[in-house]
Amino acid sequence: MTLPRGFGTGGASGEGSADVERMIGRRVEHMGGLITLSYIAAWLATFGGTAAGYFYYPWAYPTNSGHFAFIVLTIIESIGYLFCMKVTQEGSRVSTNGLIAGTMGIIAILTVLISTFVGF
């Protein structure tokens, strides 16, 4: 197999496992923390965006409809988060089901609390 320039031993014996690891870089199964932080950041941004609607434009964006959009978007983001985590970990020994369940559970609870008490 031909490897890109800078990899392998010049074509004599093909690639070694160190070369393969170097070509891969950071493995997807080790990106769980980054994906979790991105998910939380996206959820906070969603709250900020909908809150901007009902705090600054209450004549156009009633709090209830802002919360409706917030809940729907939280569900969309949660599905995306779950897909990302499962795609990265399938076929590997890494498993962070506790992290996934904990993060999604806390965000679900906070979403319900925010939708119940904020902005009214």
């Binding site: 197999m1 393969v20 891969i24 156009a60 409809s65 983001e77």
Partner: protein, 187 residues
Amino acid sequence: MAQMPALVPKEVEIQRLKKIWLIIIAMGSVAASVEVDNFVDGSLHQTSIRDSAFTPAHWWLYSHFVALPLGWGMVAIYDRRVPILRGPNNSMNTGLKMTILGYLATMFTIGINEMWHFWFVEEIFAVPNHWMFNMGVVVAFIGALAYVVRVYARLIELGAETPGENPYIAEMYKMALEGKLYSRSIP
């Protein structure tokens, strides 16, 4: 199932395809979000007609037209590391081309749309300046679907994903791998 030549080690290719897949999932979530905003913005215009370019519903809508082309642009840059995803004559993948062209049309229409509303004011869903918004998004979604099927079919071929149990779906993946899903000449 046709076996494609391996130009990079299998493990490397799987990891790269999965990194592309992660961006695709993020783009899918963003696209789902813009569908929600279609209703939010639509309901606002039902009551206030044309308000301003700077309302939360418009920030939400227009930020997608920035985020989606940037995201697919990132895919196009990273895509070069996976030889199997190249398009005709080693060009960009055809699905990606369609996606980026669709979103470029959409971004261009933002300017056209602002000019229209400056001169003609009314905010009606079926006005011509909105046509290109919608057609651009449809072209982009069609291209994205072709690309997604291609990436997923390759993950199946590499053994990283399980093929669909539905025989019709399995046949679709097989045809995609053989470059025959849309045309014999467009991989």
